[in-house]
Amino acid sequence: MPTALKKQKPYILSISDTCMSRITKEYRLIRKTLASDDPTVNPYRGIIDLLNPIDETDLSKWEATIRGPEHTPYEHYQFRMLIDVPNSYPMAPPKIMFERDAILHCNVKSATGEVCLDILKLQDWTPVWDILHCVHAVWRLLREPVCESPLDVDMGNIIRCGDTRAYHGIVKYFLAERERNNQN
């Protein structure tokens, strides 16, 4: 009887459309927000320096640069992130990665740049969040590391022991080294 029932689920197509229209809207909003000088409109001043699609014609790959939060060892450094927006966005979360070997943090796998953040996991994500929120959440992660679910176990252990001085020292050393390598 229903030989014409199509194998492909129809919503795959439509979600792509939703993804496109939503991400375009977000892009417009992000540009407006980050360009503003008014701190009530743009609370990200001094936090997010840049958030752009890498190529204007492809809104599925984004880059972001955040500034290290004050009173942390990351202060005065910039961190670049790559954001991958899946086809099923906003139903599925965007993927956020730091650049390789660019940061030392207990919730980041330094060698790959992978970030462990609950809201970027499928089970905690909700579609009302947007890319700006996610980037901001990663910035907050730099300020408040979560040592209960570390990707870098060594760093997690140092924090768990309460040895903040050691943690700060290692991070500062790592970042200074990174800076030196970049200059060479």
């Binding site: 030989t3 129809p10 939703t18 939503r22 809207k25 909003l29 906003p90």
Partner: protein
């Protein structure tokens, strides 16, 4: 202006808003239902308050959509699909060729729908509008996306939106290809016995009354298909010509399907002589003009 927090759009396209029963947060009906296809619970995307119902429309046209029912059915379908595809992969490693041949017999759920096996699957599907699962009265299905409806629900909805005559349209994909749904081999009393109580037991737990029934149903179908195919293979092996593998495979698949349909997807060796049926059908495959009625 109202804006849907999921797609960031307003209501310019006439998209309907729905409001979660407990926290009263509003979303596009399509957006929140799409989200429930992905989500792991029925919590509000904004405040994480759980709501089991979604209110659509206001005044006398208000409808309360039962989210729990659809959500449980989603799990049931996922479970069934994982089971069928999971089984296939195991076979694949052992005997690749065999698996290829058998692909047509026991594929994923969507393939089963395609194969005319929709009859049993209907029990786990609900009306796209009222969410009711009284399969005996579900009488229309959308040819394009497989959504199922009560005719009365579609007509009622059309009247509500003031387009009395435009009821013949799928509310999920806007297709006009709505066809009549026949219940096939399932008798009416069998169908009505799958009422909502079975699903309620199902909540949260994968292994329960309903999924056991589903599993049994799959086993039954698998067994029937396997038995019928044995006959077809025998007929093919006895065919006087040596057949190239591709031809063998195609004919095997084609004839087997014919036979499943012929005997209502059941294996009834007492009623039909499958060996001779298979032989005739195989013969008809080689000589399409030589008409054999099967």
């Amino acid at each position: 202006m109202k804006e849907c927090p999921i797609c960031f759009e307003g209501d310019q396209d006439g998209d309907q808003f729905g409001c979660l029963e407990v926290c009263r947060h509003e979303f596009h009906l399509n957006c929140i239902r799409e989200w429930h296809k992905y989500s792991i619970d029925l919590k509000c995307p904004i405040c994480r308050t759980e709501s089991s119902h979604l209110n659509v429309g206001d005044g006398q046209h208000a409808v309360s959509v039962d989210l729990e029912m659809g959500f449980m059915i989603k799990h049931a379908l996922e479970h069934a699909e994982a089971r069928t595809t999971g089984g296939e992969e195991g076979e694949e490693e052992e005997q690749e060729e065999q698996e290829e041949e058998e692909e047509g017999e026991m594929g994923t759920l969507s393939e089963m729908l395609q194969d005319g096996l929709v009859i049993d699957a209907i029990k786990v599907i609900q009306c796209g509008i009222c969410g009711d699962t009284d399969a005996a009265r579900l009488n229309l299905y959308c040819q394009d996306c497989g959504a199922i409806y009560h005719e009365t629900c579609l007509r009622g909805l059309a009247c509500e939106v003031g387009e009395r005559n435009a009821w013949h349209e799928c509310t999920e994909c806007r297709s006009h290809q709505l066809l009549e749904l026949r219940m096939g081999c399932v008798s009416e009393d069998q169908v009505t016995s799958y009422d909502s109580r079975d699903y309620m037991i199902f909540a949260g737990e994968v292994r329960d009354k309903h999924s056991v029934q589903t599993e049994q149903m799959y086993d039954r179908i698998r067994h029937a298909k396997h038995s019928i195919q044995t006959h077809v293979r025998r007929a093919l092996d006895q065919y006087p010509l040596a057949l190239p593998r591709d031809t063998y495979k195609n004919i095997n698949q084609h004839v087997s399907r014919k036979l499943y349909r012929f005997s209502d997807n059941k294996y009834l060796p007492n009623q039909h002589d499958y060996d001779s049926l298979a032989r005739t059908a195989v013969h008809a495959e080689f000589f399409p003009h030589y008409h054999v009625d099967i």
